[in-house]
Symmetry: C2
Subunit: 230 residues, 2 copies
DNA sequence: ACCTGAACACCGTTCAAGT
DNA sequence: ACCTGAACACCGTTCAAGT
């Protein structure tokens, strides 16, 4: 039997008013933030409702009060990444589009798990705001009708394709493996003569540099004038 | 006790030499074929080692004698899809590249689950053979050095980005949902004025048409001459 | 309204054992 | 060499129950 009087003395009660303090309550925003952190640290295959809950110090089943499925969490995480892409302030349409797309790619590569999750239609508010800005910029540049649709799709496809490809290399953080792939190709130079001798997988020029050079050409091709004159 | 003499008479033995007939033995090729079929029918989220085994009439654990992990199966399935892309016979470099890329996209869209699996480095023999052909074609067209790398990456990124995007719409086989997305955007025309009025998601022109128009421009931009003259 | 606990119907993979 | 059966350590999700 414990001493009853202990509970009569305010200061002796165990953490009285500020007692269990359930930390801040759960919310969709907190869930998404935790998901992004977990994905950044451990990648997509380690993200589990149970691990996510653990990080938030709740039961895994608690998440389902705020979120309908795990897929919802992933969709929200992708949109969160797009939220990191600033809306450009440039006035020249070409440089506005250019900056947007460069930053878009950069955001996805900062979170290399994100390109793999682009499989579902991208309809989050942050995605749509960026696509809206892109297309509005193209309209300002004088594009209309099918030319406008072609340009919008082409530009976003270039970014997504790049992100997908380049991210796949960044995810395998083993740098020696890239070299091994190089040797693998060169070792079959009879099968892949061009790839072997062009140094396809060497990093003579960086991913980023090759991307912007390609992007500039697409911007030309799509009718956004030539490289920015100054 | 059964009559012993029955087993002495050849014709009375139960299915004597051609007895249990374990069907054809398992093999990596059979596993991959079954995986592609399963993916085509039920999509990526339903592909399970257990279901795959069931389709092949073996135990799920039997698969692991032929294959190291489920990821191996997926990698092989992707490479199988690329194997469906014919190597063009056109002599003109521009049309050779064009045909390759159009067929490449078509193959991925016939198997709409495949773009989602492009997350890992593409190093299968069928992929490499197509990339080798593409780059060899670009060399024939006179590209070298960084221009060659830029063009190779840009073109494959355009195809991958397109496949990713367009496949995501084909996977949700619910056609009314596309219309619903259209209404969703138009319903927020104050937020997305350009998207709402440009009919971004209407299918005025088909995916395929928008793609080839974009592709032709990229081919121009990359230094492959202008549209095929005839 | 918000969270817990127990439970269901699954997973991928390992490994000893059979033939 | 090739396959089975049992088992391990997980999953996502539902639902009654607590506060």
């Amino acid at each position: 039997m414990t001493d009853q009087r202990a509970n009569d003395v305010l200061w002796l009660r165990d953490r009285p008013t500020a007692a269990p303090r359930k930390a801040e309550p759960l919310s969709v925003a907190r869930i998404v933030a935790a998901a992004v952190a977990e994905l950044d640290e451990h990648g997509v295959e380690r993200l589990t409702m149970r691990r996510l809950a653990q990080r938030l110090e709740v039961t895994s089943t608690a998440l389902y009060w705020h979120v309908r499925t795990k897929e919802d969490v992933l969709d929200l995480a992708v949109d969160h990444v797009l939220g990191e892409v600033p809306i450009p302030t440039e006035t020249d349409p070409r440089s506005a589009a250019r900056v947007l797309l460069v930053d878009w790619r950069a955001a996805m590569l900062r979170h290399p798990w994100s390109p793999t999750l682009l499989g579902r239609p991208l309809l989050g508010p942050n995605v749509l705001a960026r696509v809206e800005f892109l297309q509005a910029t193209l309209v300002r540049a004088g594009l209309v009708g099918d030319d406008l649709q072609v340009a919008t799709k082409l530009l976003s496809n270039v970014v997504i394709g790049t992100a997908m490809n380049d991210a796949s290399w960044r995810r395998l953080d083993n740098p020696s493996l890239v070299a091994e792939v190089g040797r693998f190709i060169v070792g079959q130079r009879d099968r892949y003569p061009t790839l072997a001798s062009s140094g396809f997988l060497d990093d003579g020029s960086s991913d980023d540099e090759l991307f912007v050079r390609g992007l500039d050409r697409v911007l030309d091709a799509v009718g956004l004038g030539c490289a920015p004159r100054r």
